[in-house]
């Protein structure tokens, strides 16, 4: 029995290693993309705009992906994030137009709160009505977008409608790092700490790992699900503010299709779609990778029309590679039992 214990212990450690290796692998892929693009065109990294865009462009998706990751970890999914982001982006613009001189902080708080509210609707439907999240959020994906179009009509928010200070946030830098990227990083770090080191954080994993067991266990499943969706909504809301600041113009279609990017980022980043596995860091790196690939392709000389195809192939490549490595690692570990 003692010998087995040693072997198992080894296996356990190594399995933990595999988990970490997933994020590491994606990080390597990200680095490769950056290096390749920079080699082709040094501007990609070594120009003020290049450096800024490298950090700035993924920031918005990082926020959405972090929220998405938390939801997926609970074995749910939030397909409405794109619509939530669009709505809050429009709300942001609308507030600046309708209440001249409104402080930026108030607008940010309002947008985040509004996003949280939309998330709460999702969460309540999922948690209380016990309806699969995929269905609920597919429904609210349409419904929220519809509300957005109803509200905005053909109106759009233009850069001239928003205060300069606010638009400045979209590009402002602090010690050479874009402010939005810093905010995203802070949010990410807090989320990561919360998910890893607090009781409630761990409960998301437990719920996703086996929802029925979580119920048996007496975990506050309903409350956690609500929180997960509220967090996802709030982060999408914050992303909406970012979107307005960065792109300076918001139409009723803002954020359309982002749900797939967000889910894609989480999945690439090693979040298991079946819940319980992965980290928000992984999702964030996945988001970086997706956006960076998008930016790197034209530089690498891939013609505009083919870029979608390459992105698709890369998504598949990333998850296949990830899987192959994990399987090989696992097999090696099992066979290693014989030697010891």
């Amino acid at each position: 029995m003692t010998t087995t214990s040693i072997q198992r212990s080894g296996l356990g450690k190594a399995m933990g290693g595999v988990g970490r290796a997933r994020e590491f692998g994606i990080l390597i892929a990200l680095a490769l993309v950056v290096i390749a693009a920079t080699a082709k065109n040094p501007n990609f990294l070594f120009s003020a705009d290049g450096w800024r865009d490298l950090l700035l462009t993924p920031s918005i998706l990082v926020l959405v992906a972090v929220g998405q990751a938390i939801v997926i970890i609970t074995r749910n999914v939030d397909l409405s994030v794109g619509s939530v982001m669009g709505l809050t982006a429009y709300l942001t613009g609308r507030l600046f137009i309708d209440i001249p001189g409104i402080p930026i902080v108030i607008v940010v708080i309002a947008a985040v709160a509004f996003g949280a509210l939309l998330g709460l609707v999702n969460g309540a439907l999922v948690a209380f009505a016990k309806v699969p999240a995929m269905v609920i959020t597919l429904g609210t994906l349409y419904a929220y977008r519809g509300i957005n179009v109803l509200w905005a009509g053909s109106d759009r928010v233009n850069a001239s409608d928003m205060p300069k200070d606010f638009l400045g946030l979209g590009t402002a830098q602090l010690i050479g790092i874009p402010v939005l990227a810093i905010v995203a990083l802070i949010v990410l770090a807090i989320a990561a700490w919360y998910m890893r080191n607090t009781r409630s954080g761990r409960e998301y994993y437990a719920i996703g790992s086996d929802p029925a067991a979580a119920e048996l266990y007496g975990l506050k499943v309903t409350r956690r699900l609500l929180t997960a969706f509220v967090l996802s909504g709030a982060l999408a809301g914050l992303a909406g503010v970012f979107y307005a600041a960065r792109y300076g113009s918001v139409s009723s279609q803002a954020g359309a299709g982002w749900e797939l990017d967000a889910v894609g980022a989480a999945v690439i980043g090693g979040i298991a779609i079946t819940g319980g596995v992965g980290s928000v860091w992984g999702a964030a790196i996945g988001a970086m990778l997706l956006m960076t690939i998008n930016r790197a392709l034209p530089i690498l000389g891939i013609q505009d029309f083919w870029q979608r195809a390459v992105v698709g192939a890369l998504i598949i490549g990333a998850i296949v590679l990830d899987r192959v490595l994990a399987v090989r690692q696992k097999r090696r570990l099992i066979e290693a039992r014989d030697e010891s």
Binding site: A143, E215, I319
Partner: protein, 349 residues
């Protein structure tokens, strides 16, 4: 084995827990069908222009791609998987048909090639899901981008528009004496095939078993991987067929054809009672749901309701339908004082 009968006493087990009317009428499928009929009746009497025979023609032409793809999609979702790449496959098949026709191939050849592309695309999904063992949601998010990217890449800014008159006419032709478009015929054939496949074959039993418990299915000799693979290929082919139809109906092959179709299909399949967790759902519900969405949008459009409101209503209907179902189950449990069973709670459709 005769000896085992020695212990067989008189106890004969009943076939059904609930009476027939209960099983047939109190189902989600029936609720959708009832709703469909209700919407048709209301639209007939209140929406001007809805009662014309041509409405049926437009309606069926509009929903045909969704109807077609919903069939294999329902089966895939019953196994607990999903295919998000179907919309892109419609686009890719359309482009392949166009490119080959443009290059001088006879239309029939081009169409066959498009179907072959459907097979290959479906096989790629199937391979990644079953052999490599990746989650289908992730895989098909990837192929969603890949297939669309190939479609857009192949045609670029151009659109192929010269297809043989005979075929484009056929795509819109009405069955003699009616306003029903001809596309209904292949759809009905496919419907019969899929209904038999899902509800009346051992293969179909396997599909449900996989959706409820992959392990148990495998231990019972169900070829879990093979079954899923076949379904993904079927989804690919049917999507390609829908793509050819799409091309002919609009007489135009473009890279962006049918963008976003996948979500419409999935919405309809779910509305029709297929559980996204797998193991539950029936095709009559799915077909009724596709028609319900179609009729509703058609009637609302006629009433000059804007597309955004139509979207809100579609989304709301989807949410309401599942919420209502689970509220109903909840009420029943309350009456019967059955605790939320650990396993059924998570598998409500």
């Amino acid at each position: 084995m005769t000896a085992t009968t020695a212990t067989a006493t008189t106890r004969v087990i009943r076939e059904h827990d609930r009476p027939l009317w209960h099983r047939v009428l109190l189902t989600r499928e029936m609720a959708i069908i009832a709703l469909l009929i209700l919407v048709i009746v209301v639209a007939m009497s209140t929406v001007r222009g809805f009662g014309q025979p041509i409405t049926l023609n437009y309606l069926l032409l509009d929903v045909a791609p969704i109807l077609l793809i919903a069939l294999p999609m329902a089966l895939i979702m019953v196994t607990g998987e999903i295919d998000l790449s179907v919309g892109s496959m419609v686009g890719l098949a359309s482009v392949v048909t166009g490119v080959l026709t443009q290059a001088g191939a006879p239309f029939e050849v081009a169409a066959l090639a498009a179907l072959a592309v459907g097979v290959v695309g479906g096989a790629v999904n199937g391979f990644l899901v079953t052999v490599v063992g990746l989650p289908s949601l992730a895989v098909t998010i990837g192929t969603l981008a890949l297939f669309r990217g190939l479609a857009v890449g192949l045609l670029g800014t151009t659109a192929v528009t010269d297809f043989p008159e005979m075929w484009t006419a056929l795509a819109k032709a009405k069955i003699a004496g009616t306003t029903i478009p001809y596309i209904t015929v292949p759809f009905l054939i496919l419907l019969v095939i899929f209904v038999v496949l899902l509800h009346f074959t051992p293969f179909g039993r396997g599909i449900y078993a996989i959706g409820l418990s992959k392990d148990a299915a495998r231990f019972s000799g169900v070829h879990v991987e093979r079954t899923k693979f076949i379904l993904f290929v079927l989804a690919g082919v049917v999507a390609a067929f829908a793509g050819i139809f799409f091309t002919l109906r609009f007489g135009s092959a473009r890279g962006d054809n049918a963008t976003g179709l996948e979500l419409q299909v999935i919405a309809a399949v779910v509305l029709g009672g297929v559980s996204v967790f797998g193991g539950r759902g029936q095709l009559h519900g799915v077909v009724a749901a596709v028609l319900l969405i179609g009729v509703l949008s058609s009637a609302l459009r006629l009433a000059n309701v804007t597309s955004d409101v139509i979207n809100i209503i579609t989304g709301g209907l989807l949410v309401a339908s599942v919420v209502a179902a689970s509220l109903l189950a909840w009420a029943q449990r309350l009456r019967a004082r059955i605790p939320p069973s650990r396993l059924t709670a998570s598998s409500a459709p």
